[in-house]
């Protein structure tokens, strides 16, 4: 029987070494994901969301990005130890990444049909030409692009259509995990709604798991089962979506994030805001990384808090919820 667990990341730390400084991008990250599940990864610019995804793909910029500790197990294989040849077989076949900008992630001098075909051919060298063509046509139908447009180039398509092609390329080999890095940020809301519905539909059909990276809590609410909130390279809150959105217990940062979005269904005069900025990622902060901006900071915040289980399926990294050191709830 297949293992239910698809992805298991343990204690992952990633740094970027540039000429004159070291950026601590991800620090001690644990995530696990079951087959067919969707995890939302939320956080602001620089929180380490994309770095996490790139580590899973082993696509960190060479010579700069470096995994300093931890392990990543994907579909029973150790990604960190896999050979270059194995990792190529894994990319595309087991895990696929959809990037933010559909305008730049397609090859401008190759017809879209060929771009879908290319992935399929590389991973299935034994397939016949007819089978390959048929799969490409099926895939185009599935994402809602007329097969007659197969021989057109990316510049002939609109932004939404391009993202459909990217999705077709991503799914043609039926990967087990999709890493979608802000897949709809560059699109208009009506197109965004179409895209998310399409991804969801295909996910159901193919039982694909997904890590959806976004800064939009609305997208998370509509599409995910689990949520991980990242702040300055750490997960500060992790849990089932109902716990995060409807529960009483919240990390102060998550609380701040929710309060700072203008709501469609209620009117407030002033938005609550989180004062200040995320700490400089080149400095390793001692203690809680959010303490400086936190309204509830207490003496204990000088020591780094752990990710504690505050209720079933809900972890929070905050001293306020840490029973062991006598914090209040």
């Amino acid at each position: 029987m297949e293992d239910r667990k698809l992805l298991d990341i343990k204690n992952l730390s990633v740094v970027y070494n540039t000429e004159d400084e070291t950026v601590y991008a991800v620090d001690g990250l644990d995530i696990s994901l079951n087959r067919g599940e969707t995890l939302g990864l939320v956080g602001e610019t620089g929180a380490g969301k994309t770095t996490t995804a790139l580590s899973i793909m082993r696509l960190l910029p060479q010579g700069i990005g470096k995994v300093t500790s931890g392990s990543i197990t994907l579909d029973g294989k150790d990604i960190m130890k896999a050979s270059e040849r194995d990792i190529r077989a894994i990319r595309g076949n087991v895990v696929f990444m959809i990037f933010q900008d559909p305008m730049t992630s397609l090859n401008p001098v190759m017809t879209v049909g060929n771009q879908i075909l290319e992935v399929l051919r590389i991973h299935n060298p034994k397939m016949t030409k007819e089978d390959l063509d048929r799969s490409v046509d099926d895939m185009m139908n599935m994402v809602g692009i007329p097969v007659s447009r197969k021989y057109e180039y990316p510049h002939e398509f609109s932004g939404g259509m391009k993202q459909r092609i990217v999705i077709a390329i991503a799914l043609v080999c039926e990967p087990k995990l999709i890493l979608a890095d802000e897949p709809t940020t560059a699109l208009d809301v009506t197109i965004q709604a179409q895209m998310l519905a399409l991804i969801h539909d295909l996910q159901m059909r193919l039982n694909t798991a997904m890590i959806l990276i976004t800064h939009d809590l609305g997208i998370i609410a509509q599409n995910c089962e689990k949520v991980a909130v990242m702040y300055a390279g750490e997960i500060v809150e992790l849990g089932q979506i109902e716990r995060i959105f409807n529960g009483e217990l919240k990390h102060p940062y998550t609380r701040g994030l929710f309060a700072s979005i203008p709501k469609l269904d209620s009117k407030v005069k002033r938005l609550e805001m989180i004062e200040g900025l995320m700490p400089d990622p080149t400095i390793q902060v001692e203690g809680c990384r959010f303490a400086e901006r936190c309204k509830f900071a207490i003496e204990a915040c000088k020591d780094a808090p752990c990710l504690n289980e505050v209720e079933s399926d809900h972890l929070i990294r905050c001293h306020l919820y840490d029973k062991s050191d006598g914090g209040r709830q």
Partner: protein
């Protein structure tokens, strides 16, 4: 004296393209009262930004009239416009590309002061800059920082300070928060609203984000392919959206709560059609779930359905 600061009548802007005339803004009319905010919403390519630039006369209109403080400025000369621009300013979308990378914060903010020779002494100039930095919530130590040393939120604060330098009455904010993270977005939105209260500013707030526009606007104009399809008070629009496009747009916004989870809601189909030489009739017709034969015959004018609520749709004729 009327309390209308900006009035636009039948404003049109057509661009010549190899494929024909591109109708960027097509027959738009509205007014903005003093001290209020008009939100302009729509998807990319609907003419929001062009509209903002037309009002500031950074682009010349093809036809129509623009009034500022009851004076028609549509045909003001460049020289007259230069003086008037002290009263009307623009805040740009991208704080990364809208600041001169070789000017420090203080130089950027002070440039309009030097240009219009407003300050008589160096002390006056410096105290004015100090005051502006304080207004937008930047510490003095950033005065000599260059844009690349600052994050997006602080850069946008410089952009705002620069727009405020000459004490304008009217500011066009062109997607001022869409490049920023949510927590920073809230800081900037609060700042803009505080400034409005303090200085009685009038804003035209251009955005594609409906929740932001609801938060900041008094009235809202929804644009679709260069035309205004719905125009009314902000609360009324969200309580009672009438145009099928507005309804679809509101439905498409992902709501950050589980109760509003979209399971069976209609998703608007199709994409924006080309604004080049559009056919007569409603431009939204081919995407519209309630389309009928009537929609394709002639252009649909904006009509007052109930008091102050204008809709351009055959359903209400």
């Amino acid at each position: 004296m009327s309390d209308t600061l900006i009035e636009v009548r039948n404003l049109k802007k057509y661009f010549k393209t190899p494929g024909g005339l591109l109708h960027a803004v097509d027959d738009v009319s509205f007014e903005i009262r003093k001290g209020t905010t008009l939100g302009v919403v729509g998807e990319s390519g609907c003419g929001k930004t062009t509209l903002g630039r037309l009002i500031l006369r950074l682009l010349d209109a093809t036809s129509g009239q623009i009034f500022f403080d009851a004076q028609e400025i549509t045909n003001y000369s460049a020289k007259k416009m230069l003086i008037l621009r002290q009263k009307m300013q623009l805040i740009f979308q991208d704080p990364y590309s809208s600041l001169d990378p070789r000017k420090s914060a203080a130089e950027s903010i002070g440039e309009p002061l030097r240009l219009f020779k407003i300050c008589r002494s160096k002390d006056e100039y410096e105290s004015k800059i100090h005051e502006l930095l304080k207004t937008v919530g930047l510490a003095d130590r950033y005065a000599n920082s260059y844009p690349h040393e600052l994050d997006g939120g602080r850069r946008q604060r410089i952009g705002i300070a620069r727009a405020l330098t000459l004490n304008p009455d009217f500011i066009v904010c062109d997607e001022p928060v869409s490049a920023l993270d949510v927590s920073i977005q809230a800081q900037i939105l609060n700042l803009l609203m505080d400034l409005q209260d303090e200085k009685d500013l009038t804003y035209m707030f251009i955005t594609h984000d409906l929740s932001v526009v609801k938060h900041i606007s008094n009235s809202i104009a929804v644009l679709y392919l260069g035309q205004c399809v719905e125009y009314c008070e902000s609360d009324e629009l969200f309580r009672n959206p009438m145009h099928p496009y507005t309804q679809g747009l509101l439905d498409a916004v992902p709501v950050p709560s589980l109760s509003g989870k979209k399971t069976s809601k209609e998703i608007m189909r199709g994409e924006l059609t080309s604004p080049i030489e559009p056919k007569p009739g409603c431009r939204f017709a081919i995407r519209c779930p309630k389309v009928s034969e009537k929609c394709k015959i002639r252009d649909i004018p904006l009509k007052e359905i109930s008091e102050g609520h204008f809709v351009a749709c055959t359903l209400f004729e």
